[in-house]
Symmetry: C4
């Protein structure tokens, strides 16, 4: 299931670029390319956020020993959300470019990521209820740390979405600020796991 | 072969979103997005059904020990059907949106899934004839249970398709009702297999 | 390298469907869908042929123990050809639909597959020169059998391409006839390998 | 992480073809196809360069034993660049076809590959600082050889980009000349690693 999820995430992240259409008119190409900045912005923010989703997905499932029907179902719904992101990103880019409907587009983008984080929270809440579903490599402190992080994301993304309703650029900024904040500790955790494995392999 | 099939299914499921085109006019974006509801409906139903196809494919091939030329050929035809679904889904969304041709579109969608289930039935019928093709992990009760489920799907999807010929929304509803029905026991079976493996790994 | 090649082949085969555009006008949907038959024909023929390419690729690399710089380069060129097929297929479908340029389109399709088979021949010829590059699981009779099959494909596809220059439908028929012919023995060989492995795993 | 990166690279390389649109008018199909030569040129050059990026990525990560948060972040940025290439290639093809904006398009293409190579240099520089991150299979001569190659690429691609600013065709030629130059030694190194593994497996 992890390999299938990886595939869907890798495809969704790579399809983002198909939503950026090269300028039809090449007579002022530099100008035409510069005018696409909303698409680049939406691309970079969404790409980095999906990168986080991928990293979190791995961390979560590295700690899950067995997958039952509920987890499988929730994961499919999560993938349905991730695979939907190229559309959401395209809408955001169009709204910023036209200077119209940014409110709607930012709320859509924020809600999509909030919805995904909600699924992370539900899966994790479900799994931590039954120790048998969890891998032996994680202790209760680790479980609680992941829960805290997923809950924080819920608040952060909801804040960004609501601010986007008032002032779209602020909403995008708050959602995008999640990238530097979130990236580091999560990646650090992966790194620790990998390092531990590396040491084990080396000995 | 399973990895290749997984790849094709993951790609087909993720390409579904490319058939949803963002509204050209961003001046009433919320309205424009709401008008795309037939696309979202077709996306959700097809995504969840392909999710089932993927789960069933794994269950079936987890129980198949060796693949001969016939199975390989039938699997390629099955993948050809799965890879065709983004087109079918796009046609369904367009028909519902335009309020025209829904009969044709629902029959196309139903037939596509019926055809895939037919291939599951043929592959499974072929494989169960020769015990040597089956893995040792499945007993005759398990084989019969899978056969029953694949046959039921054949009847269910045929019913949905025929009802769609009379009353398109009813056809979509019957086909979509297959998601909650089918998802649970199949996923449960995976879960049991995974749990057993998990235990084996843990001991 | 095999996993990367598998990925490219799986993606190319699944992208074929994106070249089939649903009818814009849904008022006579059944008629509109029927008019797309050239696209379905091109889709089915190309899908099944790529399926063969995938099977052959696996058979070939199952017998190759080590990959040097030449094989890696040739394989990249082969993948470049495979990834180009969605374009070729789209051109073929458009030509049949418009009743114009079929000669060009069939020759393009035939040449594309001939070119791929040429690369199979070159890779295999290069690898069989140096026994150290071959796996121990294949004897000289097996090596010769694969060589014969790859050479036959070269003649068959060249014949289909040239006939397509004279009479396009005949060219398509000859190229398509390669599917039932080629599929069987190749798939049979995979099956034997898998069965042997299955037995080994079972003991 | 390597499997996810492989997936993104495989998808990006296969999406390149979607940027080549078949001629709308099939009445002079051969002429229409010939007129697409800038697209073919951009396709071939980019495909082979991404092939190199893939090979280099494998070589680099074959020598990295453990991945920390910094490497994971830099790799995500690298993938963001690779996934952006279908857009860049499409712009290049359009500029050559229209005979307008080639300067901009060649600089964009060159800069994109230069940026990717910069990330390779940064990742490698970061990793070689701490021997614990490196695999035991590489000695300091090997580390230095890879560093030299990555640095050379930086100079080569910068030269091609700057020449493209003066004379676009020359820029494309210099960047494309990197394919035959770079392909060989890198591929040779993979081959040596694989051969060594092959021997180890054989003994």
């Amino acid at each position: 299931m992890v390999a299938f999820s990886d595939g869907v995430i890798a495809i969704a992240i790579t399809l983002l670029v198909l939503e950026i259409h090269p300028p039809h008119d090449t007579s002022h190409l530099l100008h035409g390319l510069a005018a696409l900045w909303p698409s680049y912005l939406a691309y970079v923010v969404t790409f980095m956020l999906i990168g986080q989703v991928w990293a979190n997905h791995h961390i979560m499932f590295d700690h899950i020993r067995s997958v039952d029907r509920v987890v499988l179902f929730l994961n499919t719904v999560l993938l349905m959300g991730i695979a939907f992101l190229p559309f959401v990103t395209s809408v955001l880019a169009a709204a910023i470019r036209d200077g119209q409907g940014e409110r709607t587009a930012v709320v859509l983008q924020g809600s999509a990521f909030w919805f995904m984080d909600l699924l992370f929270n539900i899966i994790w809440w479900y799994v931590r209820r039954d120790r048998r579903l969890l891998a032996a490599t994680i202790d209760s402190a680790g479980v609680a740390a992941i829960s805290r992080r997923f809950r924080l994301a819920l608040v952060w993304l909801a804040t960004g979405t609501l601010l986007g309703l008032l002032l779209p650029p602020l909403g995008v900024a708050v959602i995008a600020a999640f990238i530097p904040y979130y990236w580091l500790p999560i990646a650090g955790e992966i790194a620790k796991v990998r390092r531990r494995r590396g040491r084990r392999n080396a000995t």
